[in-house]
Subunit: 143 residues, 2 copies
DNA sequence: TCAAATTATTTACCTAAGTAAGTATATCGT
DNA sequence: ACGATATACTTACTTAGGTAAATAATTTGA
């Protein structure tokens, strides 16, 4: 039963990544690359650390993803005041193309979530969060 | 908002895989290997096709996973009547160790789901299924 | 019967994500 | 001031999963 739950989460995750990749193929992008671009669009220039903390992945994962995004000219990396850190910035091309891509992704998401009401979506997020929280590590002051 | 939902699903999926791997480390296993073993325990000997159809992944994924399980002596592969197909069987060692592993996994799952009531778990599965279902393909008789 | 189509698996190649260890810069404590 | 420690990122290696194309066995159809 629990078993089933994690199986189902895993399935849904794979399914959605697959569909996102399908949409992004047209732009020569992959889902995890898109999530980095989206992050930069939202917050502006960021260090890699800020990116992996926000996305909740490990540093090497972000190193790789950004290296690919740099090769394909979606982002540039600048040196920061702190020379250890690398600041990531969207390229002009990225700024220009992102609205288009964003729309396609939104359409896909609407399609995938067509069977859920807004209330159900809200519920789903909340239930998932109840699983994911790690109070010791996260240093979240919940008061 | 939708964005947030898929982000959350992805996170939860990664988190649970990570935790399962942590538990399985002791047995030199990985989560996807475990899911194959679990499948074989449940249904007995199966062809690779039956396995990937059940797990809902692509054939090459199962080829690799089973190759590793075979190397580490968790399963054997036999030739079937149809010589194209390879029938996968649990090794004696697997049969012997699985109850132990299963218990550890169950404990983990209980820990991860501690914040959810049974009703919430049921709800969560149902909501995820509403996203994942592809009515044409699945041919599931739910009665 | 036997060429053509289908099926089961595999191989090659790609991205994603993890751990462990390495490198370079920054900061801390004495 | 400077050695020890911490931080930001990278490198090397692992599994997981996907697509496309190759291989081998089976089935189909004229």
């Amino acid at each position: 039963m629990r078993n089933l739950l994690f199986h189902e989460i895993h399935q849904t995750s794979r399914l959605s990544v697959k569909e996102v990749n399908e949409v992004l193929k047209e732009f020569d992008l992959y889902s995890s690359q898109w999530s980095v671009l989206f992050c930069l669009k939202q917050f502006g220039a960021m260090t890699q650390k800020e990116i992996w903390q926000y996305l909740n992945v490990e540093a090497p994962t972000v190193t790789r993803t950004i290296a690919r995004l740099e090769e394909s000219r979606w982002v540039m990396r600048r040196e920061g005041e702190d020379k250890r850190a690398r600041i990531v910035v969207l390229s002009d091309r990225a700024e220009r193309l992102m609205p288009q891509i964003e729309q396609r992704i939104t359409e896909l998401e609407e399609r995938l979530l067509a069977r859920l009401t807004d209330e159900e979506q809200r519920q789903l997020i909340e239930l998932l969060r109840k699983i994911g929280v790690e109070p010791e590590e996260k240093d979240v002051r919940n008061d």
